[in-house]
């Protein structure tokens, strides 16, 4: 009797375990709608009441807290559509998760297309074509261009952009007697040296990713002269050495003069932001995503974002790009509901709620974003004028691989192991290695 009872208990617990696991997996993924539900054909995207109740799954790049305003607003308009919200933090974790999902045919109905994954998603046809949808009318030409593949399909809806430059602490500048922000490279370097003499940390830039000072300078020195540089690079007509050596040499100049210190090798961006907020750093190269955090951390700090200036006084560039875009899984079973979600995103309410939650700069036709005062100049002179550059957005192959390797090579340059020319050589060698396989 005892033996039978214990056997029964063991079997029961195993069955419960299996049942618990399977019900878990049933909630994830995109099999939210039961086959019994019917969708009326030819449903229009307006008039939310006509859509049948369903659930769409969404893998988000932003956290649930950041997307809350959008999700709440959408629920109010389309109460019968539930969103199964999933999240993976950018960049590498998100890319890995999405890659695994796409490969195993278990991707969500809606997902975010990152700069690194864009090419692959286009090549493999994982995203639905959106070009004939009504909501695309709010996308400005750069957003359309970057998300259109070689066959003319629009694979993602990007309603925002980001921009990166140099945040400068106005009070510290006054303290060392600099009235105007330096508008040339030479003046920038001498200002930094002045701060160094005064014992103030002159400049922080995040080197755990491609430093924005480097990419901004590449935009200034190379892309401004030849907007087809990256196309030629990947067609084999040009090399990284042709366009990247001069910017690398400029960054190396900052390293040699002690303006970029070896400390930066061990610091994360958040730690640098904390130092800037505390008022101990004169200039902090970072992006639009930090503006509200800096203000929240120290409301009395007077700061503004300035571009990277070149040798010629007044010549400038920013780092930046059209933001990640929303895409619909080509294999989705909830097409109408997903399109309704995108439609909502394109309304002025949707755009405003997205801006409110994620604090990114919304760049959409007919919409005036509520830009943080510190970013006002960057918005006009950078985003609107189109003087922004992000290499990975234009690299046609192996974007993530080259990026990751270059990050390590630049770090090697900072602690003196490589010369700028060698870093460019390594970039060329990496591309050749990846193309050969």
């Amino acid at each position: 009797m005892k033996k039978i009872m214990s056997m029964l208990i063991i079997v029961l617990s195993m069955v419960m375990l299996v049942a618990a696991c399977s019900s878990n997996s049933g909630n994830n993924g995109n099999n939210g709608s039961s086959p019994a539900e019917t969708k009326k054909p030819g449903e229009s995207e307006e008039g939310g009441v006509e859509l049948a109740p369903t659930t769409i799954s969404f893998l988000s790049w932003n956290s649930e807290q950041q997307m809350k305003p959008v999700l709440d607003g959408f629920k109010a308009q389309y109460p019968q559509i539930k969103i199964d919200f999933q999240h993976s933090p950018p960049v590498q974790e998100y890319n890995s998760k999405l890659q695994t999902m796409l490969l195993t045919d278990s991707a969500t109905d809606v997902f975010i297309v990152s700069s690194e994954m864009r090419r692959q998603i286009m090549n493999e046809g994982y995203a639905m074509d959106l070009k004939d949808q009504p909501f695309t009318k709010v996308l400005p030409p750069p957003a359309l261009k970057i998300n259109t593949d070689l066959d003319g399909n629009l694979i993602a809806f990007s309603q925002s952009s980001w921009i990166a430059g140099v945040y400068y602490n106005k009070a510290l500048f006054k303290q060392v007697g600099i009235e105007e922000y330096p508008d040339s490279w030479e003046k920038f370097v001498s200002a930094a040296l002045k701060f160094k003499e005064a014992g103030i940390t002159p400049f922080y830039v995040n080197v755990q990713d491609l430093p924005s000072v480097l990419t901004g300078l590449v935009g200034l020195e190379t892309i401004q002269q030849d907007s087809d540089y990256d196309k030629k690079l990947f067609a084999g007509e040009k090399r990284f050495a042709d366009g990247w050596v001069k910017p690398l040499q400029k960054v190396n100049e900052l390293v040699e003069k002690g303006i970029i210190t070896k400390d930066t090798l061990g610091l994360q961006e958040d730690q640098m932001a904390a130092e800037f907020i505390a008022g101990s750093v004169a200039m902090f190269a970072s992006g639009s995503w930090q503006a509200s955090a800096i203000e929240a951390g120290n409301p009395e700090l007077e700061f503004e974002m300035k571009p990277y200036y070149g040798d010629e006084p007044g010549s400038y560039y920013y780092a930046g790009n059209i933001n990640t875009g929303f895409a619909i899984n080509a294999k989705t079973k909830n097409k109408e509901a997903a399109l309704a979600f995108f439609n909502y995103l394109s309304t002025s309410e949707g755009l405003q709620k997205f801006e409110e939650g994620t604090k990114t700069i919304v760049t959409a036709e007919g919409y005036k974003p509520d830009v943080h005062p510190a970013l006002a100049e960057a918005y006009e002179k950078g985003l609107i004028a189109g003087k922004i550059y992000l290499p990975m957005a234009y690299w046609q192959r192996h974007a993530e691989a080259i990026r990751a390797h270059t990050v390590a090579s630049v770090q090697n340059m900072i602690f003196g192991k490589l010369t700028p020319e060698q870093v460019a050589e390594e970039m060329d060698a990496k591309l050749a290695e990846l193309d050969k396989k």
Partner: protein, 294 residues
Amino acid sequence: MKKRMQSLQYQWFLLPILTVYSIFTVYPLLKSFVLSMTDFNGISKQYNFVGLANYGRLFRDQTIISGVSFTLSYAIATTLIITLLAIPLALILDNKFFTRNLHRAIFFFPSIPSGLLLAYVWGFILSPISSGVLNKILKSTFGLSTQPWLSDPMLAKISVIMVAVWAAVGWHAILYLAFLQGISKDYYEAAAIDGATRLKQIRHITLPLLAPAMTVSVMLLLTGGLKVFEIPFALTKGGPGFETYTITQVIVMRGVNEGQYGLASAMAIVFFLIVLALTYFQVTVMQKREERIQ
């Protein structure tokens, strides 16, 4: 007849766990071996068979070589230091004193949270600027200048090893402590009667009888050290440059981030064989030592 029935019963009972093990361990291993001979890129469903080309590329890759060298020094250093610290710690915790249980819990605690979490916290403590926690303490107590813990190549390696030792010493001390309970008190009494000092007792009774514990502990430390990923990754992400890259990180980078699944699988298979060989060698040597002592 009854014996056969019984052993059949046991086999049936083991079937579910054997199935789980095969699905989650054996099958992926075999699949990795197959993939190591292809050019699978992680995104496209089409891929081609390339034979042993990936294996050839392994030995020409710079990052792999630097990854192997750091992983080896990490594994050996952590094994040595943890063993040298855990045994005395176990001996101390074996004594009777008032807060004995509290101290045991405190030392065991670091092995409970995930390595990733611990490393993130240590990343803040070891911040290389003057406002970093450790630097502040060192400055106020000893007047030391700011140390670039995570930005200098050598210091970064030392920091990673330091954090790993801190995280694992307690666990291994408890392991040794458990084995210590199994040593009969008669030996100590006999030695005390013969006039042996405490130190002599430790050297001639405790340490030899801890040989089985050492075999287990060293094997776990060596394999764990070779397979390490979280602590170096969370502390330095492999930086500065490629200095603290580990073998597992290179495999993840090449495979998942760069989409070179074929090459990464080849790396993983070679790594598996190396760890297998090392472990077999180490366990055989230490078991022989155990037998000699017993």
